[in-house]
Amino acid sequence: MADGYSPKILTGGESKSDDEILAAHDKVNRVSGPGLPGTDDSPLVIMELLQRLRVRDVMRGHDIIAVSRADTMKRAQHLMKLNNISGVPVVEGRRLFGIISVNDIIKALEGGWIDDTCQQHMSTNLVVLEADMPLAFAIKFFQNYTFGRFPVLDKERNLVGIVAQRDVTRVLMHELTNEIAKLEGKATTAPTEKAKSEGTLPYYSMRQFVVVRNDLSTAGKAANEIKKMLKDAGIDNKIVRRVAVAAYELEINICIHSLGGSITFILDTEKATVIAKDRGPGIKDVEWACQDGTSTANDWIRSMGFGAGMGLANSKRVADIFDIQSKIPSGTTVMCEFILAKKA
């Protein structure tokens, strides 16, 4: 090992120059796209969490246990034992030079070089994460590599933290619990009998439903659930029917025309809102699509009783406020609002 203290970031060949390290480091930013966890049909809450949370949200950024290049392997072993960790980074200031893993310690004990410096035996073939990367990247890295932890660098290539698998699990579980509590909290905030009898609805309720592409066996479930929620809340039957019709049409549209998406339903004291959001491919001519009888449906869709080109037109007809935004290829979002009249 001629100059073992220059780390190779990722597995970018044998060169150890700073420029090449930078170039290799840049590659980290470009790891993206297919195969990332959470980009398939995972539940939306998890998908959004994996994209929203950043590596910096899960990393341990304070009191990073590290050794310097001049420290002995024995000191690294001691630190790992003392802190119950399976690896320590080798740093000078905030600059990362390498990492000492349990494997390196075992080899040092077997080979009799436990009193050598870390610089001589540290692993320099490093795979690093950037603090601003979505958490999905970190999870993918843990799947792709056998390392138990990854150093985290900032944009200036300074070491700012360490991420171990258990850090990801800990934060993800915490956030998921919060999300579930939020959803359940809102969904179960049902009106009281007193509120119903007084005709007031002092509550807020929200639910989200995943709509799977081409799965007509389950399409319509969201609309049926929404209808039940409205009936339970004591909303006027005519409004219930209008909201249910819009939700149903939009749900079917996502199912048969898009790559999949979700229906979000929000109910508060003044209005009911249905938001249908899909992941593409988007509508070329929105105005045309909103006219009666215009459709791009195929025979299969028609054989299932849909594709008459009434979906968007029907939703628009029943809603008090209708809005549609569409972009190719990212997708379409339709919002229907219904003003809740007091029950006669």
Binding site: N224, K227, Y248, F306
Partner: protein, 113 residues
């Protein structure tokens, strides 16, 4: 006209969804579910040839009191399950939709008298 009357009039069989004491308020004969959703009629009797879960789900959205599937079409098991879950009477009839419409019309007219 109640469920029992519909079964007798259309030579049908009640196959799922259970009985109900609701009576027919309006009649819609259609295979396009978006068209069905356009109707405002209460206590709808839906006459269709669409033997799928969606016929039942659509019926539920518009608060239909009964669904009749025609030409003795085989009914998917899931369709019957959805009808049971949502409590919508599902009737199978050997008649065509046209013949059903005629018979239903005659029955409702005779009721008026």
């Amino acid at each position: 006209m109640n469920i029992d009357d519909i079964v007798k009039t259309l030579d049908g069989t009640l196959v799922a969804g259970g009985d109900s004491d609701r009576t027919v308020g309006s009649v819609v004969a259609n295979d396009l579910m978006s068209d069905v959703l356009l109707n405002d009629g209460e206590d709808m009797l839906l006459l269709t040839s669409l033997a799928s879960d969606q016929a039942i789900r659509t019926a539920n959205i518009v608060g239909a009191m009964c669904v009749v599937v025609h030409n003795a079409k085989p009914l998917p098991q899931t369709m019957c399950q959805v009808a049971d879950t949502l409590g919508i009477p599902l009737i199978s009839s050997p008649l065509s939709k046209y013949d059903s419409c005629v018979r239903i019309h005659d029955f409702l007219e005779s009721e008026k008298k």
